[in-house]
């Protein structure tokens, strides 16, 4: 093989790999990108149950109930709208009423069924998405700069 051809072999392999990666990425993107919704967005757009999404907001004070079997229900609010959430499992350590959280799951029959609930690792912390959701609803009263450690 001539030097040029050898080089072409590797360029070919590289292009093939890139094409394979691009194909994988595009299919994976379509299936696995998760969009973020605030409670207001959810009520306005009524997403279908086949889409995974993230819901962010504050856990409404006094809304947490624990029916049997490790299931927990609560309401998430951006202070303008609220969405009921149900979740089975152990909540993160910092899950509290009044705390900002992000839940991931599906919106099924007007209930957000979460399979993952994220509360961040610090009591002062509010996920930026949540802060923005509350700001958008026009109810923001906190400090402009959300303090984190």
């Amino acid at each position: 093989m001539k030097r040029k051809h050898k080089r072409l072999t590797f360029v070919g392999i590289a292009l093939f790999l890139l094409a394979a990666a691009a194909a994988l990425i595009l299919t994976a993107f379509e299936e696995n990108i998760v969009f973020f919704f605030s409670p207001t967005d959810i009520l306005a757009q009524k997403p279908t149950p086949d889409r995974r999404l993230r819901l962010g907001g504050l856990v409404e004070e006094g809304s947490v109930t624990k029916p049997k079997g490790g299931v927990i229900t609560f309401r998430v609010t951006d202070t303008a709208q609220t969405v009921p959430v149900s979740y089975k499992g152990i909540l993160p350590d910092l899950f509290r009423e009044g705390q900002g959280i992000v839940a991931e799951g599906r919106y099924i029959k007007n209930i957000f069924v979460a399979d993952e609930v994220l509360a961040k690792h610090d009591e002062n912390y509010m996920p930026p998405e949540v802060a923005e959701a509350i700001k958008k609803s026009g109810q923001w009263q906190g400090k402009e700069k959300v303090k984190t450690k």
Binding site: N32, R54, G70, K88, K149
Partner: protein, 665 residues
């Protein structure tokens, strides 16, 4: 007093770095030996000053000096002494001080151990190091001073984030930073080589031990972080494809590719420009990791800072370093002429294939990590790209690489033959098939990727052994000859074998834990029993206890297998009153076949019932063992006499050894 001393030392270090960044470089360009000679002492003085500054920070933590803001925010008088020390780097400002401390440490190490480097080249390397340091000193002094005072001083501090009060995490940041910052050496060598317009085998031999050291530490740092997430977060997982994890994984991918391409430069005098580019990419990924983690653009336990000016500063530094080095590469890179020719099917070809796949994987991870940020910046929707994306993209890309990894070491340099190599791997192939079939038969509708993973692990592991078997001509030559050959195998070759074998073990662990994890969440009253993964867990109830700066809720489980008591496990939920924060300590009982893993959650009702989360995580321990074996392999390779930095130019002697025994790493 310490705080002012530390602050002053940092300012002095900045000035010294400014001298080190300019004079030796000019001296090297104009061939002025007096200016070149400045490089070494300035590197030592810089190291002394940052050590002093870092020591001062630890001191104010140890004496709980609450007139320093940093101590107030991250410490408390009741905190155990280990976490007072670790607390000094468990925050934004302190961790940056650790960053420059390690940078100066590496600079001083090059000054001390790089005796065989040509003085002008060494001066350039140290100057580039000092330029990086200069950026970080300015960043610390202008935006993130760890020694800032507060008046009036509060009586006590706010305590360190309890999640970080953990022995694994106390050493995780220094390990990780030794890896991140270690790539700065490869970067400085690459920039110095670009300035000189010359890359040769000697260059590759100088770069390799430093890159290996960085790679070993980075592997260790990532493993520790993963291990911590496994036992501390209580989710039974060990890798979440969280952007912060990706931030540490990307330099690892680039560094691994660099290690392999540097072998080609050393042995065959080709792939020079590519290797230099990889060195630049590896360190750029380290800087990007620092930016992602420290700027607050991502939300995680690591995101200490959300001060926008800090983010902008790091971003500017990032653009300057990456952009500047890529421009230099575009300008000078074409001068790096490669001489060695090789066929696509050859050892070089196999190493290049590794490089191509590694960098493609890196690009995929980079895209997935930055895409949400990018969409957010251009004002699009808020999205997240999670584990399913990375699993769907990254894992298939790695399959051909693992297959090639077993074949590559059988290839000759320059021109290899694929069929004989495959012939020698026929038993390896059979073994992989059997292992895959066995994994499949455990649970016939089990996970596809898990079965593939086990088969690949078996293929790679057995392939490594087959390669050693071939190398020593076992049963083909007299035994004495085989033993002689075995003893002649260079350390760097052992290093390769161990590192590859370690990866095989780790893949087995990942496949097992990823594929066959059993999870069970339920409310349990005392005396109640659940069966998870063939073990019966009986909840014995909860009781309370007291730790040094926290209260504990213990949840006790008696575990039976086939009716016999197997073990007793106590999961903890700790509550830190000062930080007003609970943490979860999973109870883990490790066996070679898998981990028993139990977590206690909140109380439910008033009959002493608790929510519990119980897992069986198959083969997890092999992942940790595999990572340790990989690090051991790296260490073996690093201590190969060829790479020992004090041994100059053994090349002539080394090349006299026939090719069959000559090594790669």
């Amino acid at each position: 007093m310490s705080a002012e001393l530390g602050h002053f030392a940092l300012i002095l270090a900045l000035l010294i770095a400014a001298v080190q960044a300019t004079l030796p470089l000019i001296g090297a360009q104009r061939n002025m030996s007096a200016w070149i000679a400045i490089a070494n002492p300035t590197a030592y003085v810089q190291f002394f000053l940052t050590t002093l500054a870092f020591g001062c920070l630890i001191h104010v933590y140890l004496i709980s000096d609450f007139s320093v803001v940093n101590v107030v925010q991250n410490s408390h008088t009741d905190k155990p002494i280990l976490y007072k020390i670790a607390g000094s780097w468990g925050n934004h400002e302190g961790s940056l001080l650790l960053w420059v401390f390690i940078l100066a440490l590496f600079g001083a190490a090059v000054a001390a151990f790089g005796r065989n480097l040509p003085p002008a080249f060494k001066a350039r390397v140290l100057s580039v190091q000092a330029m990086i340091a200069l950026g970080f000193y300015a960043f610390i002094l202008l935006t993130s001073n760890p020694f800032e005072r507060i008046f009036p001083a509060p009586l006590n501090g706010q305590d360190l984030n309890p999640l970080l009060q953990d022995p694994g995490l106390a050493i995780h940041p220094p390990m990780l930073y030794l890896g991140y910052v270690g790539f700065s050496i490869a970067f400085s060598f690459a920039i110095a080589a670009l300035i000189e317009g010359r890359v040769d085998a000697a260059w590759a031999r100088w770069v390799r031990p430093w890159t290996l050291a960085a790679w070993i530490f980075l592997t260790g740092g990532i493993t520790l972080g993963s291990w911590w997430a496994y036992y501390e977060l209580g989710w039974g997982g060990w890798w979440f494809w969280d952007p912060v994890e990706n931030a540490s994984f990307m330099p690892w991918l680039a560094g691994t590719a660099l290690l392999h391409s540097a072998v080609v430069v050393e042995k065959r005098d080709t792939l020079k420009g590519w290797t230099v580019l990889l060195a630049i990419i590896a360190f750029s990924m380290s800087l990007l990791g620092t930016f992602l983690v420290r700027s607050g653009v991502l939300t995680s336990v690591h995101a200490f800072a959300t001060d926008p000016s800090r983010g902008v500063f790091i971003l500017a530094l990032l653009v300057f370093v990456i952009g500047g080095s890529l421009v230099l590469f575009a300008w000078r890179g074409p001068q790096l002429k490669s001489t060695g020719l090789f066929q696509p099917i050859s050892r070089e070809g196999a190493l290049l294939l590794n490089n191509l796949i590694m960098t493609t994987g890196l690009a995929a991870v980079l895209l997935g990590t930055l895409y949400p940020l990018f969409i957010d910046v251009i004002g699009g929707a808020k999205i997240s790209v999670g584990a399913p994306f990375f699993n769907a993209v990254f894992l298939p890309l790695m399959v051909p690489m693992i297959i090639a990894m077993a074949i590559g070491p059988f290839m000759n340099w320059k021109r290899g033959d694929i069929l004989p190599a495959l012939g020698r791997l026929r038993f390896t192939f059979l073994f992989a098939l059997v292992a895959g079939a066995a994994a499949w038969s455990v649970e016939t509708d089990g996970p596809f990727m898990g079965v593939i993973g086990i088969a690949l692990a078996a293929w790679l592991g057995a392939g490594v052994i087959a390669e050693i078997y071939e190398r020593i001509h076992l049963f083909r030559a007299p035994l004495s000859e085989s033993i002689r050959r075995l003893s002649r195998i260079p350390r760097s070759t052992w290093g390769m074998s161990f590192a590859h074998f370690g990866l095989a073990l780790a893949i087995a662990g990942m496949a097992g834990a990823g594929g066959w994890k059993v999870e069970s969440i339920q409310t349990m009253k005392p005396g109640e029993t659940v069966n998870v993964g063939g073990y019966e867990y009986t909840f014995e109830g909860a009781h309370e206890g007291q730790g040094p700066n926290y209260t504990i809720l213990f949840g006790k489980f008696t575990v039976r297998k086939d009716g016999q008591i197997f073990t007793v496990m106590e999961a903890e939920k700790r509550n830190y009153p000062v930080a007003r924060m609970p943490t979860t300590e999973a109870a883990i009982h490790t066996t070679l076949m898998g981990d028993l893993y139990a977590v206690i959650g909140d109380a439910e009702g008033d009959e002493g019932a608790y929510v519990t989360r119980i897992y069986f995580n198959p083969l997890v321990v092999w992942m940790w063992i595999g990572c340790i074996v990989m690090m051991f392999g790296g260490t073996l390779s690093m201590t190969d006499r060829r790479h020992r930095v004090g041994v100059p130019h053994k090349r002539q002697h080394a090349s006299a050894i026939p090719d069959s025994v000559s090594s790669t790493s």
